[in-house]
Assembly symmetry: C2
Homo-oligomer: 430 residues x 2
């Protein structure tokens, strides 16, 4: 097994087998690209400046001194591979170049705890899919009854919708409880703070290089356009959603915030964890027939921590491999009409739920729309997220003696603004 | 009435009362910002360099030498007003500064017919609303029957959904017929080129400066965030839409192309054409109560021209003022949950239909889902758009002796790619 001269424990999310990419800020230096290794971030702009990335195809292009990974995403799969190989070589315990150059090491490495992580990309378009059969079935059962749970189209195509890219925020950003319209049963709609605030445990992937308008990406080339994966919490206001979603889909109920983990794990790092997805019946159309195994064995957990306590409760324990539609199928379907994908676009899987109760990826499902509240370790119950609650999603692949980790995405919920502030009759604090 | 030293006819779309903004390219010079006056474009980067925009708040910031209007949109309403006033002064028949400086005039003006118009902004997020009651009722009647035509939420909130910004193209861009899944009645779904390709006559508006996450824009401040308006054709594949849209809304049926007119008409130029919109019943929630008249009297037409003929048919003759929800209401609703709008975002109204048959803004409605084909002046009929058809939308406000025009948005439809090309078994021509 490969080891780095930067030591890591078997539980570390960031061993030399991972090397995720992110955008970080350290002290008063501007944002730049880095890779995580153990408890450190390696500043890629510094090692590019030092000439250590020569021959990769990404060198001397200001790709790593940029404030987003978009340029790197645009360079494409062969370049991603050669940069990854070079970094694994440079960080290897047996490679002296960086290991023995103390001056360069001091400039290039910073403790992870001392840097601020930003969004990894300037996200042009964000698409959210609905690829978990268990999730779609649970939601459909609650909203439309058992007999109409799964729409007739669901097993034929990966259902997706366009999301709001401006409100995607990095882990740690606080999220304000939204206000909007909801309709109590047998009553007129009312306006006020959402009383059914929820999370959605998802994973997302970043696109590069993408395709030209009118030219679909074939399913067996689709993974060449997937730069890497992150954890996603697609915050959702279920009461607002139930009232607004027909006939054009969720809008305000989803567009106030989507949180993502800051480290993008390269698809290549996940290759050892490839696994067949669920059996697909009926057989998909040819444009959705993927040759390779398209699922990945990634453990996923969600934890809820109320305000004023350190005691969290694990509320979900699920796996990415439950998804019915693969990443490649979702990408191919997205472009089948000719829709052009651009570097930095983000797709997300939709809520990932498994067959068992504890594998459900949202409070809507876990509390079965509030009828079966969850007990918290710190006391109290939860049907929906309350003000001050912190929601954290983490994920990793378990290798033999190492982990490919995604770190975490977390966010705490702030109380709603008052109606006076919303109406502009009282100023919002700047 | 104001006149410019650049002469215009009463039918001109671009008199001194209009002064729309756009991004153009002339010969081998890079993209830059201009305003249209009569048959000319005035290069704003040239007159900024010449010092003529001093005191406007937009000068010497490289705002007009940029390849998009985003920076200008970000500067906000007071700056837009002062630039507009300055341009009206500089172009006035009685102002000698530009009129009598032949050297500067030669550098600053180009015939419109000689420039290439590009997208006016780098569009981050694109949102499409559904604000025409007549359109929503027509579509609802066809898809769900007369009794469920208008969803119960429709009169309470401006329904909208997130669209695909990467596939927004400027007028003149050819659009390839999309392929995808559709489901014939009482049969299994099939894959192939869309056989129900449609246009949607809409108008769009560009956002600047926008709001911070978690802080909604009050409805009576909303117009301060509207830079200006364009014509929009939101191409739609009705057969793909009918099969895919439940439960998360339209996706592939809309994401292959949206065409817009290149000149952004400032909201201020439309002020003389303000008019009350339709009576709203029930009374909207306070966050949707606009004090000013929020509708605008804008004539809108759509023309269809088959391939190999010059003879076009006017297929729609409608008006922007039919929209039930105003621009300000749509903007306020978009942000009510705290969604942040950014400079360069585009919103569109959804299809604009009026109460009469010829006022319907889509072929879906005009041909009543193919049951009442339209007769063309050049012979033949149309239920849906055929390969080679060119669809053109134009629009203008009729003033006393002048027009505030939007120019036009047009696009011709190319035949679908073969299935071999789509599957990647045959290369797409580069």
């Amino acid at each position: 097994m490969k080891y780095s001269f930067i030591e890591t424990t078997p539980e570390s999310h960031f061993p030399i087998q991972n090397l995720p990419y992110g955008i970080f800020q350290f002290k008063d230096k501007g944002p730049r690209a880095g890779t995580a290794i153990g408890e450190y971030v390696l500043d890629l702009s510094v090692i590019d400046d030092a000439g250590l990335l020569k021959g990769t195809g990404a060198e001397e292009k200001n790709v790593f001194s940029a404030s987003s990974l978009n340029l790197f995403m645009e360079l494409g799969h062969p370049t991603w591979t050669s940069v990854r190989k070079k970094l694994q070589y440079l960080l290897d315990a047996n490679t002296p170049d960086l290991r023995d150059d103390e001056e360069l090491r001091l400039k290039a490495f910073h403790p992870l705890k001392d840097v601020e992580m930003l969004l990894p990309a300037k996200i042009g378009d964000y698409t959210d899919f609905y690829a978990s059969r268990e999730h779609a079935t649970n939601v459909g059962t609650m909203f439309r009854g058992k007999d109409n749970a799964l729409m007739p189209n669901w097993t034929h195509l990966p259902i997706g919708y366009h999301g709001r890219s401006s409100s995607i925020v990095p882990s740690g950003t606080k999220v304000r409880r939204p206000s909007g319209q909801r309709k109590p049963k047998d009553a007129d709609p009312v306006f006020g703070p959402s009383i059914q605030l929820d999370f959605e445990l998802e994973m997302g992937w970043f696109i590069g290089p993408g395709n030209r308008p009118g030219e679909p990406i074939p399913v067996n080339q689709a993974e060449d356009h997937v730069f890497g994966l992150v954890l996603v919490n697609d915050w959702s206001a279920r009461d607002i959603q139930a009232w607004e979603y027909q006939p054009l889909g969720p809008f305000n109920s989803k567009n106030f915030a989507t949180s993502i983990s800051p480290w993008v794990v390269p698809l290549e790092a996940l290759d050892p964890f490839r696994t067949p997805g669920p059996q697909q019946e009926p057989e998909p159309f040819p444009y959705l027939q993927q040759t390779k195994d398209g699922a990945f064995n990634i453990n996923l957990e969600a934890h809820l921590t109320p305000e004023n306590t350190e005691q969290s409760t694990k509320i979900t324990n699920t796996n990415f491999s439950y998804l019915y539609w693969s990443i490649a199928q979702q990408v191919a379907h997205h472009t089948i009409t000719g829709c052009n994908l651009l570097p930095g676009d983000m797709h997300a899987s939709g809520t990932i739920s498994g067959p068992n109760r504890e594998e459900r990826g949202s409070l809507l499902e876990l509390s079965w729309r509030g009828t079966e509240p969850l007990k918290l370790n710190s006391g109290g119950k939860r049907s929906w997220i309350e003000d001050g609650d912190k929601l954290t999603i983490s994920g990793w692949c378990q290798g033999d003696g190492y982990r490919i980790g995604f770190g975490e995405v977390s966010g705490q919920v702030l109380p709603a603004l008052s109606e006076a502030k919303i109406l502009g009759t009282q100023n919002v604090k700047k």
